[in-house]
């Protein structure tokens, strides 16, 4: 069985990155926006692991980086959700359009 080439994996990760970006810009629900950011971070993880395995298999830099990104993404989501809950108490909505007191 032939091995999957690196470009296939990079294609998936780049697609994931831009799907995340599109989601962040078009969705109005804050939780969905946080999910889109998770997509972006996961595309980075795929990149790191793929580069490490295919190009630099003698070192572990990329894999370590991935572990740290996963941990920090969790911390970021925790703080983000705490902030969104607090926002919900004041605004009674988690739609970004309703949180628009300050403009320009």
């Amino acid at each position: 069985m032939s091995e999957i080439p690196l470009t296939h994996i990079l294609f998936v990760s780049t697609a994931l990155f831009f799907i995340g970006m599109y989601g962040l810009f078009t969705r109005r629900n804050m939780i969905t926006m946080l999910m889109s950011i998770e997509l972006i971070l996961n595309s980075v993880n795929i990149n790191f692991v793929a580069f490490n395995k295919y190009l630099y298999s003698d070192q572990l830099n990329g894999v370590f980086f991935t572990i740290f990104i996963i941990a920090i993404a969790a911390a970021e989501a925790a703080v983000g959700i705490a902030i969104i809950i607090n926002l919900y108490r004041g605004h009674h909505s988690i739609d970004v359009e309703d949180a628009g007191e300050m403009k320009y």
Binding site: F17, G20, L24, M30, M33, L34, I37, I40, L41, S43, V44, N47, F48, F51, L55, Y56, Q59, N61, G62, F64, F65, F68, I69, I72, A75, E76, V79, G80, A82, I83, I84, N86, L87, G90, H91, V96, A99, G100, E101, M102, K103, Y104
Partner: protein, 470 residues
């Protein structure tokens, strides 16, 4: 070896110790009065600042992941000083607040992250420091829990900073793919400017531009500044920006040295955009926090002029300007924080006729604004002069002329505030406010800094002797 560890990581360890002391105070007793806690914290921060001047050694730790040089120590001392001043200014706001200790624990965590980021020698360490310095910052933006604007600001900050660190990380991952290393010292040998590396560099630059709010990526700045509590705003606009700029300069000059011609053009474009857009938006603001947000965006544009010089003078002028910017911005924010904490008034109309009732506050605000505008006797003039000189070293005079013209435009809106304070009549001016010792002391320190730094020659010479060019 073992003592090396403690001496090289002195700054980080001290801040970590203070954080733990605060956690223990929090756990041990609820009987401490808020004022006692505030005094203890300020004394701890003062010792931290003084200890920064002793026992400094250069060196690296953890296989080049962590490095300190004289320049890094100077930068950390500047950040320590700024945190101390902000803590003193926050006294008025915090003395009636229930959660003082949490505020300081979060604030010092971000400071710790910035220290790690500044002395990082590896992209992994840099990323960890960056996240440690942004995530708690979003939490303290929300510190006025019951205010709607505060939570809106925190939401905007956490989403935009998470997005920007996503961009930065994608850039780092591509850079890793293109070069196979994460070490700052090894990266330049592998950089040759091929398309993948350029794309990675642009993503990294976008991530940095988000953090220091350079124009196409500045949209979060004004909202976050307006919504968060004023002390947090001054921390955001001074300490966090300065820390990111320090790293930005050293990454550009050390790691992306081989791509210097490419980033010079990018910086020039970004700088012109930043100055023009920052100026135009600052003119139409009425809320003083928003006004200072756009003014700080404009100042970032001027700093980019200095960075683009890419000489030894480039780094020296940027650090020198940031030192002055610390004092001027903290002076202005100190007055606004004090007035906002005592009366809740933040708009320019409220400040009309301030001079009749509060002459001291008016003078502090005026001198700070003069320094931000760059009017000669104040230090701000010298800072901007050196930035422009550093930028002119490249010989691109059209660019320098645009920068100089923008300085003139910026005079208009700074003087508009001064006019409101001194000349405009107001039927209900802000009443006479009694000032506590600590905030007053902080304002006097700021004014002394603004007046004296420009004339003390050795400061610039010292910074220049530590800097390096391309």
């Amino acid at each position: 070896m073992n003592t090396d560890f403690f001496i090289l990581m002195k700054f980080e360890l001290l801040v970590a110790v203070i954080i733990f002391v605060l956690i223990f105070i929090k756990l041990a007793s609820n009987e401490w009065s808020t004022k006692a806690v505030l005094n203890v914290v300020n004394i701890l921060l003062l010792t931290n600042f003084i200890a920064g001047f002793f026992l400094n050694h250069d060196g690296t730790l953890f296989g080049n992941m962590f490095s300190t040089t004289k320049l890094v120590e100077l930068q950390k001392n500047i950040l320590n000083l700024g945190t101390l001043i902000i803590s003193a200014q926050a006294y008025t706001w915090l003395k009636n607040h229930k959660h003082v200790l949490e505020f300081y624990i979060l604030l010092l965590s971000t400071l710790l992250g910035m220290f790690f980021m500044i002395s990082s020698g590896n992209l992994l360490m840099f990323y960890l420091g960056l996240e440690l310095s942004t995530i708690p910052l979003a939490a303290i933006c929300n510190f006025d829990l019951e205010k709607r604007k505060s939570s809106e600001a925190a939401m905007k900050l956490i989403i935009s900073s998470a997005f920007s660190s996503g961009l930065l990380l994608f850039g780092i991952s591509l850079l890793y793919g293109a070069t196979g290393t994460l070490n700052f010292s090894e990266l330049p040998q592998h950089l040759n400017g091929n398309a993948l590396q350029l794309f990675a560099f642009i993503l990294l630059l976008a991530g940095f531009a988000f953090k220091i709010s350079v124009v196409p990526f500045h949209l979060w700045t004004a909202d976050v500044y307006e919504g968060s509590p004023v002390s947090v705003t001054s921390y955001l606009s001074v300490i966090s920006k300065a820390a990111f700029l320090f790293v930005f300069v050293s990454v550009l000059y050390n790691v992306f040295k081989p791509l210097a011609n490419t980033w010079f053009n990018m910086l020039m474009l970004l700088s012109i955009l930043t100055m023009v857009v920052g100026n135009l938006f600052a003119i139409r603001q009425n809320n003083l926090k928003r006004f200072l947000a756009f003014s700080s965006i404009t100042q970032m544009g001027f700093i980019l002029v200095g960075i683009s010089g890419s000489s030894q003078m480039g780094i020296a002028s940027v650090i020198y300007f940031l030192l002055i910017y610390f004092f001027s911005n903290l002076g202005a924010f100190g007055v606004i924080a004090f007035v906002s904490a005592s009366t809740g008034k933040e708009t320019m109309d409220d400040y009309k006729g301030l001079y009749k009732t509060n002459p001291f506050l008016s003078w502090v605000l005026t001198i700070s604004l003069f320094s931000l505008a760059g009017i000669p006797p104040t230090a701000g003039f010298f800072g901007k002069f050196f930035l422009i000189m550093a930028g002119a070293g490249k010989g691109n005079y059209v660019f320098i002329t645009i920068a100089a013209l923008n300085m003139i435009i910026s005079l208009y809106y700074y003087l508009k505030v001064v006019k409101a304070i001194f000349m405009d009549a107001n039927e209900q001016p802000i009443e006479k406010l009694p000032i506590n010792t600590l905030p007053k002391l902080a304002m006097i320190v700021c004014i002394t800094g603004i007046v004296s730094i420009g004339f003390i020659h050795p400061i610039y010479d010292y910074i220049y002797s530590l800097s390096f060019g391309l």
